[in-house]
Symmetry: C2
Subunit: 293 residues, 2 copies
Amino acid sequence: MKLLDGKLMATQIKAEIASDVQQSFLNKGLPVPHIAAVLVGDDPASQSYIAGKEKACKEVGFISSVYRYPVTITQEKLIEVIRFLNDDTEIDGLIVQLPLPKHIDENKIIEQIKPQKDIDGFHPVNIGRMVLGLPCFLPATPKGILTLLERYQIETTGKNCVVLGRSHIVGSPISILLSRKSTIGNATVTLCHSHTPNITSITSQADILIVAMGKLGFVTADMVKQDAVVIDVGIHRIPSDETKSGFKLKGDVDFEKVSRKCSYITPVPGGVGLMTVVSLLQNTILAAKKVIY
Amino acid sequence: MKLLDGKLMATQIKAEIASDVQQSFLNKGLPVPHIAAVLVGDDPASQSYIAGKEKACKEVGFISSVYRYPVTITQEKLIEVIRFLNDDTEIDGLIVQLPLPKHIDENKIIEQIKPQKDIDGFHPVNIGRMVLGLPCFLPATPKGILTLLERYQIETTGKNCVVLGRSHIVGSPISILLSRKSTIGNATVTLCHSHTPNITSITSQADILIVAMGKLGFVTADMVKQDAVVIDVGIHRIPSDETKSGFKLKGDVDFEKVSRKCSYITPVPGGVGLMTVVSLLQNTILAAKKVIY
């Protein structure tokens, strides 16, 4: 078994991005890429995600700015904010940290983001273009999975790929991407979800198994084919006496037992999660260079 | 075996639409729905498709107008035409008959159509919204398949569904639609294509098999599970002594033998093809009533 080491990959790619910032922007006297993030309310998980993104921006030499609003902000006001940031030519990438408070329609907000700045790849135009195989910003987590498969030179063409979970941000787009006519693609993909009755009989035939269910330790060794490639997108905080922080991160896969059976596996932490932020940075470079639109 | 009778369904639905035109438009003194079609060149198949759409419009009481241009029209001029039709408030639905001549970029043209008038459901915004489960114009052929399944009360939730072919207009969207969280959906979908090595072992497990390969008679009885539901999207003209026209229409499925084994099957002709035009009419009603946008 080999680890698909998201930490190592993320470090390598961030170094490549930092060097690109130097060469393609600083050396040419151009402004460096700039991500603006909108954060509503004070949810600790959202705060921590935003902090992670700011840190990553700093590491590669991007500018980042965070626009913070109280949880009471109206939908109309938030739309105004987004329009203002859309029009700011100094901002290349614009993200709105989810979830938003319940009185705000997330879809309405996402549709307000200019597709040209939608580095999260959540706007319908970017998703539609993804389905059609046209240039677009790919959603960050699926893009991170493709990057891992590509960098570890894992063949996907003709492989039997099973995706567990049909969320709009992971399961559904990765199932679309892996069946596309593309080098990292051309797989036969089966998308399973809460209504799939016989999941084990399906997963146990998978050459590549992508797990994004949001259920702690859902995938056990008996569900996995010998020598499969296993990608674990789940992330759960569980209490632990062994760590200083008092908790441990675990995934949707029973890592200890499944890892003995498969050829490649992503650890949690240190797997897909770190690749997600890297994808955001890559999308921002594309936005700043105006490669997509 | 029962036929999924596209001809019967299309007739029924067209009668419903005609009655809706009377009640929701004529009786209220509102202008009836209006489809504008753009036809470039003189490809006989395209001419015949357009004629079919005009006939269907007449049957339900829609206005239809066809804008014909020579094969030599430039991309710039065609974009101008589309912008003009986008702005014409008397037009509810706008279709550009494909294929376009090779010097014109089809994707560029489709992206010019106002999503609010895109009754073909080909614009990235509509495809993206489809993926996200938001209100949108569904692409006509997949929508026709959903309508057949719905009207024949075929359960899809929890079923094993296999789609053959990953085209942008049929295979790919129907695979997305059937796995969505929706009454006609919630199936476990596997999307197969030219890179799938062991197609028979996959199709023979399908409760619902949707065939959109474009290969005459590709699906034989040994590939089909006993009592499966089989939807044949293929359409091939083959020479025949038995008909006045000198040809017969056949599908991607070996109807004679497969029909003996399955519970439901669409005939060719008289199956999915006729539902496609009906979907266009349904989308136009939605556009005229401004239900989606």
